[in-house]
């Protein structure tokens, strides 16, 4: 039954993926002819026309699309106009950096948020609850670039304990991860807290107390487990948000990831790269969503599809 479900989902996902790519293909072309962007400002009209011809941009759009589909069949995702190489290579090269960042940041944020949120929910209105709420919300609603730049100014320039940016050592991870975590952390703390308060008022929590279970186990075993559904959903959404949108961190800290690549190629109308990055992230996002849906069934036996 589960395998059947996965199969069905995969099938649906492939259809949506094709739909997505088609949509992207036609819609990106609505955002203007890129020829002028690739040539110096003072280049002539003829030069621009020559460029369009060279890159097949002068063809009617449906011809371009058929060509694209045909190439897709032979796993050719097009050439990047900007980078002089295969677009899918560009996308795949950028992806791991983002994935690593997103994975570490989300894992940490979720774990931390669960602990903090659960403890806050255990005693609503307590000092811990209020402080945790304020701090996490402050983190979540401060502009990320603000935190990033101020962080660099303080920790790298002022105190000199962390490198400003770049990749390499473990120290290089600290600030990007911290910045990336803030919003997911803040949001998740709130979600965990809210659902946990309701869960903690359920009768089965009384049973657990009557059994003499440890408070910690009651909170994290019983109440948390029952409130995980929205939590993992939101976490999943935030994770996919990071997969295609860790732009600020990528640009400021110089992690060459897919978010920055996507923005650049959109602004530059590097269509093949736009399509390829969307393909790569979409596959990742679809997989995450399927995984989350499967998780629901494992987490709550009453759920069925």
């Amino acid at each position: 039954m589960m395998l059947g479900y996965i199969g069905r989902r995969a099938y649906h996902s492939i259809i949506s993926l094709i739909g997505l790519l088609t949509l992207v293909f036609f819609l990106t072309r609505l955002t203007g002819d890129p020829s002028a962007l690739y040539l110096p400002l003072d280049s002539s009209l003829e030069a621009r026309e020559a460029f369009a011809r060279l890159n097949g941009l002068d063809q009617p759009i449906h011809v371009q699309f058929l060509q694209y589909l045909q190439n897709l069949l032979s796993l050719d995702f097009g050439q990047s106009l900007r980078q002089n190489r295969s677009a899918i290579d560009v996308a795949l090269e950028a992806f791991p950096a983002t994935l690593k960042l997103a994975f570490v940041a989300m894992t940490l944020a979720t774990a931390l948020a669960i602990v903090v949120g659960a403890l806050a929910a255990a005693r609503p209105g307590s000092l811990f609850d209020r402080t945790a709420g304020l701090v996490s919300l402050a983190g979540a609603s401060t502009p990320d670039f603000w935190i990033a730049i101020v962080g660099i100014l303080v920790f790298a320039v002022g105190l000199g304990i962390l490198p400003t940016s770049g990749t390499g050592t473990g120290l290089h991870w600290i600030m990007p991860i911290a910045v990336l975590m803030l919003r997911p952390f803040g949001l998740l703390v709130q979600v965990v807290r809210g659902t946990m308060i309701s869960a903690l008022a359920s009768p089965y929590i009384k049973t657990a107390h009557a059994k003499g279970m440890m408070r910690r186990k009651i909170i994290f075993g019983h109440a948390l487990r029952n409130s995980l559904l929205p939590v993992i959903t939101v976490a999943g959404d935030l994770a996919t948000g990071l997969i295609n949108g860790a732009v600020v961190v990528e640009t400021i800290f110089g992690w060459p990831g897919i978010g920055k690549l996507m923005i650049d190629s959109i602004i530059q109308r590097d269509f093949a790269v736009v399509q390829s990055t969307i393909l790569v992230t979409a596959v990742a996002i679809f997989i995450v969503n399927i995984a989350i849906d499967l998780l629901y069934v494992t987490l709550d036996p009453r759920i069925r599809y």
């Binding site: 089965y204 049973t207 107390h209 009453r302």
Partner: protein, 542 residues
């Protein structure tokens, strides 16, 4: 077994309030009682009289606030329970004091297997005795009579029947052989034979370990069978207490007297078949089957379980068909199918000539107005966000033509009063009621839509005898005046005998016997029916 006379638990002057905007609700008022090792104390009392709250206080399960322990001392084995810190409390709960909750579904965590939930008792109190926890859990489940315990241990609460969940609850409570067991209506969903098995189990435990038992029950036969001493509560106060036999034979307080006289089994006045049930056939069930697909996890192997197996019966207009039978024999499953809440695996059910399972749109809507159900688990069947007023008036919102809006408010109060509740209860939410009160709200809601057929699934099981009689009388009255029909699922033989015209006896998904009430009681044919009728508990002192 000798009950030592030094009380292991002594409660003095306990008063508990529930606070809210406005005046506090006094749930328990100056209650004192004690219980000695090996002794069984039965608490009888009106529904809503504070039985659950006062025993909940012993385990520290009343949330304060909004609960408020105004006064009282709780001494357990020499320690003052109100002075314990969290860790000391934890050490006591489950190991030395255990509790069987009244409402088994709500009190089981829906996302864990029952096995795991029972195992947690062992894990929370890791003591010397080793041995695989799982084996112990299986053993416990077997002791409480869960069939196929080895497999069932990996199932989730929602895959159990009402009575089975109750037994899981019991297994959980007796896991560590506590010094005191508080059993809050432990047998409300159990058929008589399983009930006697459980009662026997409890007595065994008392013999083995000298466990003190505080048992709350509405069932006078059970009370008589178990009690050494009895206290009777009414309106939050203890109105009478004393040795069991004295109370039964010589009740002092007016309420106790009323209780005893309401006992339906006392005078088994042979009932004449009522004449008016010759009406047309309202419901005709043909070869109904329900097979559940069972599996413990999303990826585990599946197997089929026949919960309802080729069941056929009919209900005439104005007739009451009682369904009795083994716990887990598929009674609730039938009810749910008749209400179109679960799809049957096969079979037909015709309501007023139309196949219920094929109804769509308007016809379905009309059907739902004409048929109502009182669920076995009343708490779960009410939206926790709605207050009683909106719960009871919901049918009128759905079916606009039943009652003009202006009348709703009065009608809600009327209905509540019919089932023995008060007008002020209308503004409260479900969690603020006792088990019996919730059950009555559920009945009031079922009556609100003025149906033709009500499926009652253990609808009066949590009510004390006096209120039970009041409700039954109400139902009978409606049957007479409006021609209502009932499918009345219960474990309580005296009640079906009193109320039902015809009875189906079920065992393992099959109807093993069906006949007129009096015929069944006087000359049961199937051996299971016979065993049911014979296992009526006997007073302890007899």
């Amino acid at each position: 077994m000798t009950a030592s006379d030094k009380p292991i638990l002594k409660i003095d002057n306990l008063t508990v309030d529930f606070l809210s905007e406005g005046d506090p609700v006094r749930a328990v008022d100056d209650v004192s009682f004690d219980v000695c090792p090996g002794e069984t104390l039965v608490i009888l009392g009106e529904s809503g009289s504070g039985k659950s709250v006062s025993t909940g206080t012993v385990m520290g399960l009343i949330d304060c606030p909004p609960g408020d322990i105004v006064s009282g001392s709780l001494i357990f084995d020499g320690t003052d329970l109100s002075r314990l810190d969290e860790e000391e409390r934890r050490e006591l709960n489950g190991r030395r004091i255990a509790m069987i909750f009244q409402d088994p579904l709500a009190y089981l965590n829906p996302v864990y297997t029952v096995g795991r939930q029972i195992a947690e008792v062992f894990e929370s109190h890791r003591d010397g005795d080793a041995g695989p926890v799982r084996d112990k859990v299986v053993h416990l489940l077997e002791r409480v009579g869960i069939p196929e315990a080895e497999k069932r241990i990996d199932y989730y609460p929602h895959q159990f029947s009402g009575g089975q969940r109750q037994r899981v609850m019991i297994a959980m409570a007796i896991a560590l052989k506590p010094d005191i067991l508080i059993a809050d209506e432990p047998t409300t969903a159990l058929d008589v034979s399983v009930q006697s098995q459980i009662l026997e189990l409890l007595r065994d435990l008392q013999r083995e370990t000298g466990m003190a038992l505080i048992m709350i029950t509405h069932d006078l036969e059970v009370a008589a069978a178990m009690a050494d001493r009895i206290i009777v509560m009414n309106g939050g106060k203890v109105v009478e207490s004393g040795p069991a036999q004295d109370i039964f034979t010589n009740p002092g307080h007016a309420y106790t007297r009323r209780l005893m006289s309401a006992l339906p089994h006392a005078g088994s006045s042979p009932k004449q078949p009522r004449a008016e049930i010759k009406g047309e056939i309202l419901l005709q069930v043909e070869h109904l089957s329900k097979h559940y697909i069972l599996g413990s996890g999303p990826f585990s192997s599946k197997r089929e379980f026949r919960a309802v197996d080729d069941v056929s019966f009919t209900v005439r207009r104005g007739e009451t068909v009682g369904i009795v039978g083994e716990s887990g024999s598929g009674k609730s499953s039938i009810a749910r199918m008749l209400l179109r809440l679960n799809d049957p695996t096969s079979g037909k059910a015709l309501f007023a000539g139309a196949d219920i399972f094929k109804l769509e749109g308007k016809a379905l809507n009309g059907f739902r107005r004409r048929v109502q159900m009182v669920f076995q688990d009343p708490f779960g069947s009410m939206n926790p966000r709605m207050n009683v007023r909106s719960i009871v008036s919901e049918p009128w919102v759905i079916h606009r033509d039943i009652l003009p809006r202006a009348r709703w408010k009065d009608r809600v109060v009327e209905l509540l009063e019919l089932v023995g509740m008060k007008a002020e209860h209308a503004e409260r939410h479900p969690h603020q009621f006792s088990g019996g009160q919730r059950q009555r709200i559920a009945i009031a809601r079922a009556l609100a839509s003025e149906p033709e057929l009500i499926v009652c699934d253990e609808a009066v099981s949590a009510l004390d005898v006096s209120i039970q009689m009041q409700v039954i009388a109400l139902l009978a009255d409606l049957r007479g005046s409006l021609g209502l029909s009932y499918v009345f699922i219960t474990h309580d033989l005296p009640i079906v005998r009193e109320f039902a015209d015809r009875i189906l006896v079920m065992q393992q998904g099959k109807v093993v016997e069906e006949s007129e009430t009096e015929i069944l009681f006087n000359s049961p044919k199937h051996h299971y029916t016979k065993s049911l009728l014979n296992s009526v508990p006997r007073p302890k002192w007899a």
